[in-house]
Symmetry: C2
């Protein structure tokens, strides 16, 4: 009993049972109460401390449940054997400094990942968000369908039919928080021992992600129509990852003939699939959008992936995937276990944003904004024609400058940087050790206004000409 | 020219260039215009159709960019060779029927995955959501830090320190859309050739997910303190997945001694880690919450995973992971490529929900609600003491009924079902072919009111006694 002279402080705000618990716990961890030592009975300790027996019971129970003390039936409470230190760290939380942002000093950033957010339809977003939360429907907070909300999947099916020429049932559509997540999900569905063919240069993140998930990734050669079929055959791959509407980063639009050949390649062997990443097909400045490869698919060979990151906003985190019939069984078997990664409120928000016509209006607005920047940038590049050619300019929100005066991408980027302009070398998009062209830079113009483009071009002239 | 008698309809609403484009495309795909055929020059066709040359230019450009037609410099436009059919499917979207929900006819569902949503703090949620969107800050829609918003990570660090005894820097905290996603991310960080040890029964989804991502998953034996260290050693695993606060589904609280032994196991070899899934530690009905295993970790051996799914709402889709220092390099190398799976608005919402004290109040409310259901269920099970014992009742929102009268889980579930009560057999949680006890059912009470528990108990008495 003498070991347990606990000084209780009735005014400290800490419940009495916790004070007892902490005292005994400290005694145990600091060796004051050795292994095997019997604690006083709850009755005795309660009397000694002049507290109710329930208070001591609570303290002992806590000690038992954390394993410091053992209750032996009809015998009492005994100190357990502990090894190592087990008290919590006493430090108080430190003042934290947010890690610094990079890129200070850059006036004109032609990042290919930029998106113009001044045009973000915040009003509509706010209105719909408020409406959904006002509906007082706790259903929105119950776990939803792992594949996504039915309303949203129907809406996406209609959109794909009208805008991308893709006929898909809502059952085939899986909603996920970004393309990276969908790639991970695909890896789960497609299983081990898969060989995936990609182009080089390509969307590097996808390459590295598939590699780090034990996919074998091979590089198939390219020509001016995109991935070469003969080279694809040689890789021995059973999966081909392509971006037929606007190859990233080269900007190649895959012609119908190559699309047909790719579909034929997939049809020649069972288990072959094409992953179509249709990341920025919404933005095409002349004529109507080119139908997706999945729109030509009659044999269920194309896994189509689309996103709202480019067309609405990157932080929205909503992408979607159309699975061919042949993969639905795998999805139901393996994929449905993985809970949806998008909140139901966000899913309903996107569905209504599309259904109420906001998306169409937003897209038309953005097409106009981006087309005007695209045209301004093309015009601004005219004085550079002696030293470079422009490519990849038919769609999307970036284009390439290919230097033919011997300037390397590093030199071009460094010189531009000294004038406050950030452009990006193409070589970072090369993967798999494929030999690299090093005389091309990439300019994303989505987040650079026309005035800024003109000013930046003036600075680039000083840097490059 | 005669092949191209295009009937243009100025009143159809379809732009003229599109009508020309569609006509020629159809001619090509239906064989009316064979491979190699030269199209009329844009000048001639414009004159013939009495439209502007720009209109024909646009139509031809679209045909070229889709690969139906080829522009040969100084020669004109020629039909490309196409193989296969390439017109879009003409079907109009069908009326769709939403797939039916299951479980009709069930009056009392003791699903272990249930959550009480009548207590969801919709008012506070709505208020904060509105505030964030009113701030007119388009930053929220720009792509954020892949690891999560700094504000939220600081908030979680403070919460973990106070509530779970875990000291983590915000830099170590990674936010993700649900535990499934975090498991996938962990798989990326930890790399190939890993052997993971799990218990059986366990959280089955995690087992299957790791298996489908080419992890070798071994089963370590259990005793009444949780995972056995000798058995863990025998598996040869370098990763151990445990739920020390409340093992799922058995409800075992791992005592301090076993926790220390587990930490020692991890410390014995480099590269060993413990994955601590702390899924429902917020709910403990007597005494204060037991500190997390990560709170005892001095050597950077515990990967801690927590979630707001149980404590706020399942559809919120926000979980978090604390990476030990030793894995930060891997995260920066491989993990940062994967964009955050939670929208920034949702992240800020959760941060403010915690910072403004709503979370604490909500947790206290839910603890009271769940404790009352827990106590009611324990009381209601007293008449069954002849045929079963109750276990796993110290924490969480489910408990187990172990029949000792020879009744199997199947019989128990079937008989309960005939009375409109749904209980779940434990055997579904066994993995890896480990021999199964088949006389235990699991009852989740989070989403069953006290009145419903009493009524259900009456029905179970009819079914089982």
């Amino acid at each position: 009993m003498n070991d347990l002279t606990i000084v209780l402080d009735g005014k400290s705000g800490v419940p009495l049972y916790e004070q007892i618990y902490y005292h005994i716990k400290n005694e145990i961890t600091e060796g004051g109460l050795p292994f095997g030592k019997r604690l006083p009975s709850t009755r005795k300790l309660a009397k000694f401390l002049q507290v109710s027996r329930t208070t001591v019971d609570l303290a002992y129970e806590q000690l038992v449940s954390e394993g410091y003390v053992e209750a032996r039936p009809c015998k009492g409470y005994y100190v357990c054997e502990l090894e190592g230190i087990c008290s919590l760290r006493p430090e108080s939380p430190r003042a934290r400094r947010k890690p610094k942002q990079q890129d200070a000093g850059c006036l004109y950033d032609f990042s290919p990942r930029g998106v113009d957010l001044n045009s973000f339809p915040l009003g509509a977003w706010r209105k719909i968000s408020k409406e959904i939360l006002m509906e007082d429907n706790t259903r929105f907070f119950q776990l939803g369908d792992p594949a996504g909300e039915w309303e949203l999947r129907c809406t996406i099916a209609d959109y794909l039919h009208q805008a991308r020429g893709v006929s898909a049932e809502p059952e085939q559509i899986i909603v996920g928080a970004g393309n990276d997540f969908l790639h991970m999900l695909l890896r789960v569905l497609l299983g081990n021992r898969r060989v995936l063919a990609m182009e080089s240069p390509t969307y590097r993140k996808a390459y590295e992600l598939f590699e780090s998930l034990s996919c074998t990734v091979k590089i198939a050669g390219m020509d001016e129509s995109g991935m070469r079929i003969d080279s694809l055959e040689e890789t021995g791959a059973d999966l081909a990852y392509v971006m037929p509407s606007h190859q990233y980063p080269l900007g190649i639009v895959m012609p119908v003939k190559r699309r047909m050949q790719l579909l034929e390649w997939a049809a020649r062997k069972e288990g072959r699939y094409i992953i179509e990443d249709d990341y920025d097909s919404e933005f095409r400045y002349r004529g109507k959008p080119i139908p997706a490869l999945a729109g030509y698919d009659r044999q269920g060979k194309v896994i189509y992936i689309g996103t709202f990151s480019k067309s609405i906003a990157p932080a929205i985190r909503v992408s979607y995937m159309v699975l061919p019939e042949g993969l639905m069984e795998k999805y139901n078997e393996r994929g449905r276990r993985i809970s949806s990664t998008v909140s139901r409120v966000d899913q309903l928000l996107i569905a209504r944003f599309l259904n109420e016509g906001y998306y169409e209006r937003h897209l038309n607005k953005m097409r106009a904004v981006y087309k005007s920047r695209h045209d301004t940038l093309l015009e601004a590049m005219k004085p550079f024609r002696k030293i470079l050619t422009v490519s990849g300019e038919n769609a999307g929100v970036h284009l390439l400058l290919n230097f033919h005066n011997g300037m390397t991408e590093q030199e071009a980027a460094d010189r531009a940087w000294t004038k406050g302009v950030k452009v990006y070398g193409l070589s970072r998009y090369y993967v798999g050790g494929v030999s690299q062209e090093r005389q091309t830079v990439i300019l994303g113009y989505a987040n650079v206004t026309e005035d800024a483009i003109k000013e930046a071009a003036g600075r680039l002239a000083q840097a490059w000409l």
